[in-house]
Amino acid sequence: MSTLLTVKQLVSQRAGRTLFADLSFDLQRGDVLHIEGVNGAGKSTLLRALVGLVQLQAGDIRYFPESALPTDANDWRQQVLFLGHKPGVKAELTALENVSLQAQLSGVESIEPWQLLATVGLLGLEDLPAGQLSAGQQRRIALTRLWYSQAPLWILDEPFTALDTDGIELLQQRFAEHTAAGGAIILTSHQPLTWQPTRLQRLRITGGDE
C-alpha cells in the first residue's frame, strides 16, 4: 500500500469566489507535494480541507485507498500530522512544558523533551515562558512534533514562516529523512526549496480566475 492519499475533483468556493475546481492528485510514499499559488489563491483552504477542517463544495478525499480495511475517521487522523499557520504553542507555558504536553496530547509518552529542544536549537531557553520567545522560536517548539511523530503523512502550511536560514536547513534535513523512511509531505511555501526531493510534485493553484 504505497498510495497514501487520492484526491479527486475538489471544488472550493469561498464568499462566492471559485478558488479551485476539478483539483485531483495522488500521493505515494516518499512523495513531496509542493503547493504553490499567490496570496489568497486557496492553498491554506486546500490543506485545511484535506484534514477536514473546512468543508468543500464537492469532491472526494480518500486516505489509504488501497487499504482493504474500512478506514474510519479515527484511523486516518492518527496517520496525518497537520501544522497550520498558528503554532499551537501556549504563551503561558515554558518551552519544555509545551513540548511534553504536546506529546502527551498526541499520545506519545516516551519522548525526551530536553533532547528535542536541543535538536531544534532551543537549548538554554527551556524554562522560559513561550510567550517571551520570538515567533521563529515558537515555531521551532511546534516543529518538535516532526521529530517524534509516527504519522506517515505530514501536511504543513507554510512551515518555513519565521524561521531563519539555519532553521529552514534543519527542517529540510528532517523532511529528507522522513521521505527516505517512506513518509510523504504536502506543504505550501513561498520560498523555493533548497533541497531537491527525489520525488517532487508541484501543484499550482491559480485561484479566483474563472
Binding site: G16, G59, D60, A73
Partner: protein
Amino acid sequence: MWRWLHPYAKPETVYHLLGRWLPWVAGTATLMLAAGMVWGLAFAPADYQQGDSYRIIFVHVPTAMLSMSLYVGLALSALIGRVWQLKMADWALSAIAPVGLTFTFISLVTGAIWGKPMWGTWWEWDARLTSQLILLFLYIGVLALYHAFSDNRSGAKAAGILAMVGVINIPIIRYSVEWWNTLHQGSTLTVFERPPMANSMLVPLLVSILGFSLLAASLIFQRMRNEILRQELRRPWVKQELAELATQQPAMKEQS
C-alpha cells in the same frame, strides 16, 4: 476516509418551485387573513366577561402558537442540515428566524395591550407573557449570532447549533416560568386560558390561525428565495435570473 459532498436538492429547482408556489400561498393567506380578521372583529359575538377587548385574541393566539412552532421548525431545519449535510436546510434558518421573531413580537405586544384593560397595567409578569418574552430573547440570540458572522454559511451553522440548544431549553423554561408564577402568586387573571369557546368565536379563530400560518409560509418562501440567490450569487442561473430582473427595472440600474 471518503466523503461525497453532493447537493441533495438543487437550489435552482427549489428556487423555482418556491417561486411557483409563492403567489398561490400568499394569495390564499391574504384571503384567509382578511376573512378571519373581518369575521373576528365585526361578526363574532362579544365576550360576556371581557366585552369586545377579547377580539385581540384573533391576532394574539395565532401568532403565539406560530412563534413557538416556528422556533421548533428552526431547530428542526438546523438538525436536518447537520445530520444530512443539507445546505438548503441551513439556509432555511435565516428565512424562518425573522418571521418567528416578528410573530413573537406581535404576540408579546398584543398580549400586553390586551392585559392593560384586564389587569390595569401594560406589563404583568404573567407566565405566558414571560415565556413569550424569553422566546423573543432566544430569537434575538439566534439572529444576532447569524448576523455576527461575515460568512453566511458559518453563521447559519452556528445559529443552528444555538437554535437546537434553545429548543431543548424551551420546555424547561416554560415549566420553570410557570412554577415561578405560581410561587409568587402573580396575576391570577386567566385571560389567556379560556374556557371552551363557543363555535361562533372558535371558527373565526381557526380561520385566523390558518391565515397566519399561510402568511408565515409565504414570508418564509420569499426569504428563502432571497437566501438561495445570495448563497448562489456566482452561479450562472442566478446571474441570468438577476440580469432579467435588472432589465425589468432600468431605474434600479442607473441608481447603483
